[in-house]
């Protein structure tokens, strides 16, 4: 399995920065997410996590540091959380941390909905 590294650019702020690292067992998504053809962007990330759960099976941390995600992206993030929940139910060790700006109370509500919909425990952490 290979790592996924996507850097963000000021000219395309609608794509988030992505760092999925097999050796460290860490997946990070940060910045903003409101691209066109959202599923096309997220599909490789979803497949990476599926492969990790199937073949690597080591502990996995998902750190989300998105200051904005559109509703299409929320659907893809929910897909990721559901895969992680399945991995956890099969004995995998998973930790999900969601970093948020405390000046944005709408995000807290969004994360609570993700928890309820996926069944995955999400740790809410304020941005430093």
């Amino acid at each position: 399995m290979e790592n996924i590294t996507l850097t963000s650019s000021p000219t395309t702020p609608y794509f988030p920065e992505v760092n999925f690292n097999v050796d460290k067992g860490i997946c990070e998504i940060s910045g903003e997410s409101y691209m066109e053809e959202t599923y096309k962007f997220y599909l490789p990330l979803i497949n990476w996590i599926k492969d990790y759960a199937k073949h690597i099976k080591r502990p996995l941390d998902l750190n989300i540091k998105l200051i904005y995600l559109n509703t299409s992206s929320t659907k893809c993030v929910l897909d990721i959380l559901e895969i992680l929940k399945d991995f956890e139910d099969e004995g995998g060790k998973v930790k999900v941390n969601w970093y948020y700006d405390k000046a944005d109370p709408d995000m807290v509500e969004e994360v609570e909905d993700f928890e309820a919909e996926s069944g995955m425990k999400i740790e809410l952490i304020e941005f430093e």
Binding site: T12, P13, Y14, Y34, M35, E36, E37, T38, Y39, Y68, N70, T71, S72, T74, K75, C76, L78, D79, A103, D104, D106, E109, D113, A116, E117
Partner: protein, 175 residues
Amino acid sequence: MDTNTISTMTSKTILSYNGPFYIELISVFGTNIRNFNDAYSNARKKLFKIFIELSQNVSNYSENFHMINNVQRIGVGELSLKEFDTAYSFTTKNQVKKTDAEILTERCELVNASDQMKLRELKREQRLNSPGEKFGARIGLIQAVMLSKNKLEFKVDKINEDFSYFSLTVKIDKF
């Protein structure tokens, strides 16, 4: 006067556009909306989110569209952002099939008849049941009302037997 109806109040136009809703344009407009001044930061955060959702609805679903390289479909429509003393109002207008106008009208009426708790329920339900992939989550209208806490103003203008214009306005209070 209905507190949700602001079309008769004095306003200044911040942004007005008619054309294809390219993501590059939406992004530049959105960034400007977020950063054009330091006042009402909470309202502008909500405005940005609503702006992106409703603009992407035009981009994805307008029946008047441009094709890029015969592959990518970019919806054409109008947007208008106005500032009032106590609120912003954001309007989009695009062409829809007559049958879709009826579906959209029903959807807006359902959203307007729901309180915040019901909207949250609807959002969860629709996100879980949405086809995903090409069509996204289909919860943009619900999200706009949940964020603004104001009802949608919508209007259908017949173009011909097959198509109509669908206009949608959301008010975002400054305070």
